[in-house]
Amino acid sequence: MEGSSEPLLDAKAEVANQLLDFQWKLGMAVSSDSCRSLKYPYVAVMLKVGDRSGQVKNKSFEMTIPQFQNFYRQFKEIAAIIETV
């Protein structure tokens, strides 16, 4: 999409960060010092965001699989709505 200008938002809103990139990885925690048989899958996400001054930051966090499924569902909903607006 051409025209990457910042949206003109409500003056009171403090939405400063633009989502530039979204990376994910699916990991499996196998074992740890507190539990030899851990065996849980998780999704790790790395967001690249840019603020008003152009500075780019990385934000990462982890999600359980149910959390990720909800996260993904929310994005799908957003995508569907954006199409129709």
């Binding site: 200008s5 539990c35 790790a44 966090f61 982890e62």
Partner: protein, 179 residues
Amino acid sequence: MAGELESCKSLSGLLNGLAQEAFHGHPGITEELLRSQLYPEVPPEEFRPFLAKMKGILKSIASADMDFNQLEAFLTAQTKKQGGITSDQAAVISKFWKSHKTKIRESLMNQSRWDSGLRGLSWRVDSKSQSRHSAQIHTPVAIMELEIGKSGQIVAVLALWFYSCGQMGCLRGSQETKP
């Protein structure tokens, strides 16, 4: 004193106390607290090895995340060995693990999550009909707020916006090209 140590109700309480301290991170559950609350008739020098034995057994079960077959085999072996446990004690331990397994596993998983987690997510879609920088009309923009944190504490709130690239599932924000 052996009779006291074999008491089922006290053992159940003991396992609970051990689990709280070892897995769920509750501080202040000392050997003395457990002894005075659950086995007041037992002298400390006799209680100590008993506590250590039970702690060891519980940790082994939790660490291996034993299913019920493994648990059965493990506890049977413990009853057969020198200085092991009685079959009554094995029954109490088995019952304890079956009802607390999920919760203990959850705590162990949390102990090994060091990265922040997603605590909350909210969003809205705005439709902007005008922009200062270009003549775009009806440019929908998604605004999302992420609450990121660990162990009940919100560490960061990330508010961000993005346009859709027009394809379902592709939600990269448009890249700002610097002059």
